[in-house]
């Protein structure tokens, strides 16, 4: 990611309920954006992964439940419950499965999605 990268404003941070995801259209890509908040209510960041879940071949990852497994922040596919690490896109159960990671940041309450990393 460079400073010149194209950033797309997708929604306000408050449009994403704590510890859920939404799907954003970024160019022709579908991007799942997750907002992580601690149980005490502290914002802990936003994460963006490709919305296409390779095991089910469906655009559903934004609808998965987020959480942590062994300390790794993950989202569970709502179809077959396989988990993807929010920071790397790697599938915990099947090495061959991986979803792309996108740059994402919050500027003045707006969620911006950048390039695929």
């Amino acid at each position: 990611m460079t400073e010149n990268a194209q950033w797309t404003h997708v929604c306000a941070l408050t449009d994403i309920l704590p510890n859920t995801g939404v799907c954003a259209k970024v160019g022709q890509a579908q991007v799942a954006v997750f907002r992580i908040v601690s149980p005490q209510g502290a914002e802990e960041g936003v994460f963006a992964l490709g919305n296409f879940e390779p095991k089910s071949q469906a655009n559903v990852l934004s609808r998965g439940l987020v959480g942590d497994l062994g300390g790794v922040s993950v989202v569970a596919s709502p179809v077959y419950k396989n988990h993807y690490a929010l920071t790397t896109g790697a599938c915990l159960e099947e090495e061959t499965l991986r979803v792309p990671v996108f740059a994402v940041r919050v500027v003045e309450g707006a969620v911006l999605v950048g390039a695929q990393q």
Partner: protein
Amino acid sequence: MTVSSRPKLVLVGHGMVGQKFLEQLHAQSPDAFEVTVLCEEPRPAYDRVHLSSYFTGTTAEQLSLTPTDFFAGTGYTLNLGEGAATIDCAAKTITTTQGRTLSYDALVLATGSYPFVPPLPGKDRQHCLVYRTIEDLEAIAASAKQSKIGTVVGGGLLGLEAAKALKDLGLTTHVVEFAPRLMAVQIDDLGGRLLRRKIEQLGVTVHTQKNTKEIIDGETAHHRMVFADGGHLETDLILFSAGIRPRDELARASGLAMGERGGICIDNHCRTSDASVYAIGECALWEKKIYGLVAPGYQMAEIAAKAIAGDTATPFLGADMSTKLKLMGVDVASIGDAHAATPGALTYVYSDEVAGIYKKLVVSADSKTLLGAVLVGEAEDYGNLLQFALNAIPLAANPEDLILPTREGGAKKGLGVDLLPASATICSCNNVSKGALCSAIDAGNTSIGALKKCTKAGTTCGGCAPLVKQVLDAELKARGVTVNNFLCEHFAHSRQGMFHLIKMGSIKSFDEALIKHGSGRGCDICKPAVASILASVWNEHILMPKHQSIQDTNDYYLANLQKDGTYSVVPRIPGGEITPEKLIVIGEVGKKYGLYTKITGGQRIDLFGARVEQLPLIWKELVDAGFESGHAYGKSMRTVKSCVGSNWCRFGVQDSVGMAIKIEERYRGLRSPHKIKLAVSGCTRECAEAQSKDVGVIATEKGWNLYVSGNGGMKPRHASLLATDLDDATLVKFIDRYLMFYIRTADRLQRTSTWLDNLEGGIDYVKKVVCEDSLGIAAELEAEMQGLVDTYECEWKKAINDEETLKRFKHFVNSAEADANIQFVNERGQIKPRNALEKSTVGEPA
């Protein structure tokens, strides 16, 4: 032709024992002998123990005991339809019934026995038959077609088996016995009397102390049996089952040593008087005894196979003649010294003529050792008692407890399998010890099926099957195969524990539960589990913003996610009753949105292929037409299936549809550890299949019978009867209590069937809690359920009227477009998801 230098072994007779011998021989010394088997019957060894099942549909193939590839695999030669005619012991040759001469180095006689037919005039008339081979059964079946009345001569074990066969063939059945009681060898007078009454209740007429003098032409039937006491019996078919005699004519002619009353004399290694000739099974006489059961025959087969292989370490030292069987549905068992013949032996007797149960224990003079037992009417204790007797396990202070019925609250009596020594024989038919079972379990055979397959325990008479299961369970437990039932890594509590903590601690959100009782951030296991508990305890709307992040996608969109990312819609159709107008609405909605429609197993209609943005539109139309959410998406009460009941059905005794609607409307929306399905049948014909449901209600003349914890699906379980003849109010009360008790105590995703199977005390315990209020919580359970009933809301009605909730029903947060990856093709006039390979890859990042 191959010339073999291996020693030649000939086996005469291929019955159960013969086959067992071949298996043992192959196991002992696979290629040591060139083996030829002579079998006079037209088919290889089959199961004679379960012969009568041939008349109830078991085929000759299913009765076969010979694996199809056995002879190919072992290289042994089987000659069917060819028996032995003569033996020349000096020349070591045998002539077959086909006139061939075979030489042998070792000869094994397993010729079995033949049915004894008393030498009375008329015994050879037509329709006078015996019962031993499949050919005999075919003859009986043919004769039965021309007969109305059938009579068995002989009231022993085999005679009663034969009587069952005649009964199954639809004949009016009589049993004629010479002795004063049935099964004179195995059971005593009192037991015999009870057995007789039970068998007569089943429509078989028993005549004891009848000595048949002759058989002559009948007046009303084919035959007349004339008795020594002057009486007579008219019958069309006569089946002799008056004991067996060893098939020893071949051995006798060849000069081998014989018993005075027949039987080929053998020593402790099954050798006859000629060192090269062995005899095993029912043709063999050991210590002047013929063993007419399969288990001793199997033992002899093993010992002979070992002796031939040069291993004479284990001698035959007699066999246990204990036996358990079901005679026409009546359990009968006899163990050891059933007649208290041992000097000084004492007895305990329990007789319940009302329930039809008789039990007797025979103990040693000091009442420390069990010598024998007789069980009639109920033989569940057989396995335990047999172990006490066989292993001389010291009896506890009150041996009578072993046969007395358990009192309420009493500890489970009997013997823990832990007490058994490794040498204890668990399966006597196949001589499998507890130690052998344990080794097999160690080798990874940890299911009953695998264990039986590996050890053969419980595969012959089946009497030891419950004991095999007990050994397996105890061994698994001893090996520490215990699983903790914590929810997941975030909560070190079971679901039941969490339920309690949430209720007692007035916890109202997942975050609160996590902070107080958990660690980390939660996951897709604990979040929906806690969501379900919160819904069961507080019935807060699952759409509340604070609960959104913990709902599985089904509960989030109030619809069922399908494999392609679309959802399905199931409106509630209480009791499966629907007006034509409502049917039309469903049809119109399906047509308008292009949905695939299918009738479900729960008597409703499922509409597939809806995109998230279509869901509120679809539901708006359904709610406007009076439909409610069917909760098919939740771990919740699903449907109450019903038959049409007494309003229309000629056989119905209650209004099953009315009751189904009442129940469905009461429990709609109820959240639970797993889905709950119910059904109501209007009569005992059970057309609603209520006994395969979590809660099944079946109408009776007087009210309703309540069944619980049934299941279809992956692990079917027949529901258990909880209560009978309930009035409407009590029925609902009991269901309230039962469901709430399940919701409180079950594990996550545990159906009521597994829950009950794992509940200490099982159905009896649930009966006490639900029907007798043994825990004193019935009022509480009812109040909790009433609270949920009172706060029910249709989730969809609420959702379509709430702007905030409606916002979530779109695929993109920043566009109104649909997901272009969702594509359909047509099949049988409806849509189905397009195969991934046929799809354009729109939406998939490159």
